[in-house]
Symmetry: D2
Subunit: 326 residues, 4 copies
């Protein structure tokens, strides 16, 4: 029996708006409702929760109770450093006052992490970057990106911070756009408590191989977390994991196991038009097939094929394991 | 002095939400406020207005007054067939009742077109399409796409309908995704009063050459309208026109002039983080440079270069005209 | 037991050059050697052969003998209207003399089709299009594209011609770039004997859903042939079928079977660095898994899910069939 | 009067083959012919030359004479570590013997650099990477990528080595795929004499902002060279510089000047179907316009706009300078 733990960003169970469906793809939900939906999935052990809490102010106690009745714990807290006040950036906002607000919100999130005994503060600075040619001084922007997070890490040496890089959206170009850029920034920071949360879909649509990105982060000792979903390689579609790229997803998890990486397998999906519990079950159903396929895969033969860089041989091994495991 | 008329979608002057900045990139605005902002631009003659009217119910009279004081008239009405009730599609919704609602909303929009003496009902069925492999029966989906608009055209033979195609967003794939597909659908409809509104940016990020798309629509007698903006070729960024692809923009307008196409030059921009009046002025300033460049361009020499398919020669002529006209 | 017939473009068994490895990825091969390699695959019934024959002049008799000993027949002939003399286009070359040469070569290819009793002349006008903004008169270019093929069809009413569209390469933009554009051109021709050869990979990296493209071509009565491969959605990588996008490949074949389309399943792969026989076997091995998955799939339940546009339900059915069939 | 020096890769003046036009886009040329064509451009001071010398063995003396009569000197030597023998990789080839050959060829190239008093050995390991999921052990592949170049740098401490990164082609994914990844590798090497040659087009189609990439490389002290061209953001089209993205090209050179970077402005174009001298003149003509625009640009005002991250203001300044300078 599998001991693999599964998790999800709590926003998986929210409803969404976009620039067209401004009235939303469904009625708004409270955080408590989202937690109860997460509980319905049946396979989730942990959730990542936005801060400030979505759906209006909610007491820590009410959240704790809801988590408990759904047998969930908190893996991370994601400060919302991408809402209106941060529309022009959090750590890189041209206004020093707004940069201070971002720092404060992240420090508040750090306290929530401590309260729940969670693993990390997750930083996704989606508004930090640029839209237009000539818009920014690239040196200064990158310095602010690096220093803003280094400061947080120094202020909270007892905690871990994870950066979730992404090529773009909502900014046309995000500062932390790739695994290599993020590692370069982290090396610059020179602190031990900042790492990467690797989102499979961000890596894929950024033109990386997610397996290669994971290996690189692991080799730098910085793969602190990960989540999965899928897309059509041109945008962060946040579709159901395995619905488009099952083979690269399998390679990603193969890489984690080969390296004995033993963290939670999390979901970061946005089921705009789907039932969110069903979408989570669909993904986890496929992830369990991947677990079985990993158990079945001949790791030695795969290593030998890779040492020969034998694409056809490696593909055969992967297919045999994966296309018989659902 | 130029007689070119300029226009804009009234949403250019709205504020926006997206899936992250759910509290919006600015305080909500009423339609009347948007019209007054459009008036501030100084060069706009016409606007395209969403229906139901954005920012809450507004009387036709109040709108008329606001338009008049800003010297604006209405070129088109865009029914919002992409909000929550149409999240799973308007003309292609699996629920026949919702398809009926879409038809009704478009007929209501037709009445607003009549009221304002506008040119057309603009149809942008952004939720009509699919997200996942296997999700839809592609034959049925396309039939519904075609029949839904044919029905509207037949119900309103006194009016024009324009389809604004787009590759994707918010759906991962839109039914009316390209100029050729849309023309194929229109030919199927067999009605005279349906045409294309060509969005420069949609064409560009769909992998078309906008100039080629315009020519094809003109050659089928179906270029009923157009609007411009810019993007990074991977998404509908709705940036300021000419900010990234000034040469292809110039080629697009060259094609229109060569064909004596004499409609309004409209803007379809989403200035999420910019002042909307300044963003419109920036675009129109560049469009006026393009007008001057067209006046300067040697059309005969260009035709000769194109008949030779002489890329270097044609580029030289284009550069000489464009890079001296701002 | 399956009666499905398999085929391949004979170039699958060639060696290749590109702009960097100008000395080629292997020693050149004669057509006879390629045919013998095709025979080694064991599952191929038909091949598509380039004309002029690759690897130097070869007698029809020698080819016939080689085909016979490998139990292969010819499905189509592909005139090489994309080599040096056609570098600036075949049907759309600015030089009328070169356009004439293209016509002659295609007529010669038609005679080879008659000789071998093949199904069609395959037209892939890879050099017909443009590279730069302003380079061509788009109306004229498209007219030449359409008229050049209409002429061939009229000259050879006893034969079929298939157009293999592709977004780009070697031209930066090809005239026949998509299924819809090609159908629009074919409708313009007004002849019964021109259809589409749908290349799965071209459709995929052009931003289409190959299943949707196939359905559209079928609904216009123009799906005359098809071939498969795979890619990373950004280029025509011509990788082994099913190696990246197995689910969309499965949907593509599902669509063919649903429509009782009963042609040959062909390969169009370029194994630059792989053994070509092994690469073909790898693909056909997966295609046979897809056959089994189609036999297993509950078509009624799938139709019902699609009628509801139920992504999660449809995905479940597809996974159950596909991920248990290798 | 400008003192800016211009250069070009000598392959700009070659003819090309690709996988379709296997007989080439023109008759083969000798290196001496290419040098004479480079001389015809009139504005070139330096060239980068492939090694082994293209077009057959050529004596160093003959090359020296040809360079002299065309007033050209050598800026770099590019060993051809991407031809048939390196089809499966140079530094990362699974065969240690081939990796040795790559090292030897680069050392030979180093001697040519010394002979001509050139600036650097240029390394473009276009075959080092992977094509398929599961094909390689990503840790080992990256280690070999890094160590192979570190070894060269250590063997030749008197010389500089530059890495020209590129996302892909001919490999589906190249090891040195981006500026950040390359810097990460260089930091790992821990040697002073390895830097980056930044190709504007590689950066652009890799999803970077070339200006940002340049700034990052400069801030790491590693921008050792650069070249320009243009593309449609989806592939390394190697089009004429400024033909598609003039504004981002301007921003790139603005960044260089702002940092007082004073190297040669090189061309890396592949004029497949164009006259190569005309294509070079077309590019340099536009680069001179950019020089004039830089002289005209208000750097202080631009800095102020960038400090405000004011896209509209910065764009206005850029347009005023650029669109009046041709």
């Amino acid at each position: 029996m599998s001991n693999q733990r599964y998790g999800a960003g709590i926003w998986h169970f929210a409803t969404y708006v976009d620039r067209y469906a401004t009235d939303g793809y469904g009625a708004p939900r409270s955080l408590i409702e989202m937690i109860d939906l997460a509980g319905e999935v049946g396979d989730l052990s942990v959730v990542d929760i936005n801060y400030p809490f979505p759906g209006g102010e909610t007491s820590l106690e009410a959240i704790g109770t809801a988590l408990e009745r759904n047998k969930l714990s908190v893996i991370g807290i994601t400060p919302e450093i991408y809402t209106r006040q941060f529309a022009k950036g959090a750590f890189t906002n041209p206004d020093a006052g707004v940069r201070r607000l971002a720092n404060e919100m992240c420090n508040d999130a750090a306290n929530i992490v401590r309260h729940f005994g969670a693993d990390y503060v997750k930083l996704w600075p989606g508004q930090d970057g640029w839209d237009y040619p000539f818009q920014v001084d690239h040196r200064k922007l990158w310095q602010m990106s690096v220093e803003g997070i280094a400061e947080l890490a120094t202020q909270n040496p007892d905690l871990k911070f994870v950066i979730e890089y992404k090529p773009r959206e909502p900014r046309n170009h995000m500062s932390y756009d790739s695994v290599a850029r993020t590692l370069l920034g982290i090396e610059k920071m020179g602190v031990p408590n900042v790492g990467i949360l690797l989102d499979f879909g961000h890596s894929l649509y950024g033109g990386e191989s997610p397996a290669d990105a994971a290996q690189l982060a692991i080799d730098h000792g910085r793969l602190f977390g990960m989540d999965v979903n899928d897309n059509l390689r041109g945008w962060d579609d946040d579709m159901i994991a395995g619905s488009v790229h099952p083979i690269e997803l399998f390679e990603f998890f193969y890489t984690l196991r080969k390296n004995n990486w033993e963290g939670v397998w999390q979901l970061d999906q946005f089921p705009f038009r789907e039932d969110s519990v069903e979408a989570a079950k669909s993904a986890i159903g496929f992830l369990k097939a991947i677990e079985r396929a990993l158990d079945k895969l001949d790791f030695e033969a795969m290593q030998a094929a890779q040492d020969r860089q034998d694409a056809v041989g490696a593909l055969k091994l992967a297919r045999e394991a994966l296309f018989s495991s659902y």
